[in-house]
Symmetry: C2
Subunit: 297 residues, 2 copies
Amino acid sequence: MNLSKVLIYGMGLMGGSLALSLRKKFPNVAISAVVRSEKSKTIIRSKGLTNEVYLQSEFLSPNWSSYDLVVFSTPVESILKIIPSLPKSGDTIFIDLGSTKETIVSAVENFYGDKTHNYISTHPMCGSEQAGPEAAVADLYVDKLCILTKPKSASNASLEWVRLFWESIGSWTMEMDSKSHDETLANLSHLPHVISTILVNVAGSNATTMKEVMGISRPITGGGFRDMSRIAGSNPDMWISIFKENQSFLRKSIDDFIQQLTAFRDLFSSGLPIDEDKMRKIWELAEETKEQIRKSK
Amino acid sequence: MNLSKVLIYGMGLMGGSLALSLRKKFPNVAISAVVRSEKSKTIIRSKGLTNEVYLQSEFLSPNWSSYDLVVFSTPVESILKIIPSLPKSGDTIFIDLGSTKETIVSAVENFYGDKTHNYISTHPMCGSEQAGPEAAVADLYVDKLCILTKPKSASNASLEWVRLFWESIGSWTMEMDSKSHDETLANLSHLPHVISTILVNVAGSNATTMKEVMGISRPITGGGFRDMSRIAGSNPDMWISIFKENQSFLRKSIDDFIQQLTAFRDLFSSGLPIDEDKMRKIWELAEETKEQIRKSK
């Protein structure tokens, strides 16, 4: 795999970790980064993540074609703004790390039309409640799934190149079309973040709970709450951007959740005995489905 | 601490782990167990968890007073049935490991009236998605919170004895009255189990999601879904029993959850821009509350 010049456009946890992964696997690669803030620039320099680092304001007329690989790891909204400025020919491979696919893939398909190109949209599933380049680690992508979404006119060669690229970094890959990706991720990733956040706020809005919590220096919670709250309130910028891009599928997932939770709540009708059979069926269905989704016993 | 004869009535994960903890801390203690099934009896014998093990049907007229400590670790419903058969005098200390407190403490207070007694209700917060005596481990209680609830006429001496007992097993303790316990636990423990279970079932009811999930041999999920689904569908018997005992507080928690989730969903009104400020406030509130509850940064 020929890789001598890479540009990572946007360098938070994911872009920074990709830089570390690249250094490990391709020690001679020259990495450039583009970031929004002086603070990120300073951190990236002091951690030695890249060979060069520019502010967006210093990088207004990029020569995209001078890189073998360009990786967009900014929020989806700003990727959408950049796509129309990409070159329509050349050998540079373009990928993004966007958490939603439909708006990006539509933008790519609109921009390139029938023209063959090398833009493959990818989604490495390795978020963390940590953020920023200071949290970057070299093994973030190892053994993680990277979903590949091929826009209509992207070349098969670029798809195979990108697949090999992620596999060389240690990820495993699968292909998904953009609509299936966004609907599946609404349920398996976006909804869980919403639910975790609301769960914490429900506890926080209960006066008795917070009185007990604040009255003692150690956490009252067991492992259940700890796991269920880990991702609550993390990365508001990133998540607001994701929710905006995926709002119709996410709204559908939330509606399904409210409907199923209401049905569960209605099993406790004041004064009547609980319908234990129905409750048990809900529990058993979850046990079975959990194994199917997590592929674990 | 004088402890030579202990009865553990009900021996699943928690009772079995308590037996192992006792063996470690008090090597000379004689432990008896009472269980429902032949299967549990066989497992307890083969793991050597206790000195004696009886089926409930072999233990119909127990001599409670022959033990220094009696521990009830069955579902709350069956503890409620046993309480009226306890002796009203003697030195035996009675505790339970029930996950709800209001119904137990009411039953104890009704039974003993103004008579001083040695029944302290306790709740070690160390559940697991594992179940059964086969999953018992000696360090289950180490560094875990055990909540102590003192019924009105329980002696202060028995409260202090029970506190010392749990601390000698390695737990840390705090006191809570029964209503505060049940309301707090509805939010910090019972609601999370419901939410986790519904989340898995929402994903399972989405055809696109399950088509992608079933089309590949490895899990599509990232760490978010993995954490959020860990407790889904676990121990239906135990949870149905807990929900029955705590239904009014749990229903209130579920209603609060539905109300806050609906308010979040309503931030995506079709066709209008998302109210990003409101969404960010929800996220920031969760981030702050999470730290207060988890006592972590």
